[in-house]
Subunit: 110 residues, 2 copies
DNA sequence: GGCACGTGCAAAAGATTATTGGCAGGTGCT
DNA sequence: AGCACCTGCCAATAATCTTTTGCACGTGCC
């Protein structure tokens, strides 16, 4: 994942996702290796519910990916890992991204 | 300005600032050259009040800087220009930044 | 059955952002 | 004086994000 293969809107989404202390810590933790939800929650010292919300946001932004696995003793465990990415942000890169932003005047609701 | 001379908290602030379509357009416009508030508002097609708020946020994040100047005919005009920056975001860079995040358990209110 | 693990989801409350509209001030020109 | 520019700020609303609490479901083991 790279700066210029994202649309302006997607880039905004990714940046918004990164701009949160919890999610930054989650990403940091996963950068050290894959992990499953409950364990990750314990390591970060936050509730599982809260972590889930953040993980979903990270996943939607494409920054992490999940795999549901069965442990040896038969428990369903969801492992997350970081998607490698490399965003290079400069005024020029942002100017280019801005060109592909959705015009607020023709946004359609579902 | 670079990724690793920011604290984790500052980085979160910068990312949050960038993660907005209006601000991205403002930055894009200023990347093409300095400009003053009213003119910029006209070019972007947004209200001056709204632009001001976004410019302040950009300035607080250190992404733009302002200069108050007097035009030839005596009018006070505030010119903004982009601060050159180059943020390189990777899982590793974020992991490093996460180490300097403020612990939510010892935040003090004013 | 009762625990100790794992998962998921959703409603509600709290906190923060985004946006508008109005009003203040200033200059110079006719 | 009245108009056309420039600036700044604030109060109120609307919209969005964050966090908690509680419930549901599953497994294996004593």
């Amino acid at each position: 994942m790279q700066t210029d293969d994202l649309t302006g809107d997607d880039l905004v989404g990714v940046l918004a996702t990164l701009a949160n202390p919890h999610r930054m810590r989650v990403l940091a933790a996963l950068a050290g290796g894959r992990n499953y939800v409950s364990q990750l929650a314990r390591e970060l010292g936050i509730s599982r519910a809260l972590l889930q919300v953040h993980l979903k946001r990270l996943e939607k932004a494409g920054l992490v990916s999940a795999t549901l696995e069965l442990s040896e003793d038969g428990k369903a465990m969801k492992f997350y890992e970081v998607t490698p990415f490399e965003l290079h942000l400069t005024p020029q890169a942002l100017a280019a991204a801005a060109l592909t932003l959705t015009d607020p005047n023709d946004v359609e609701k579902d």
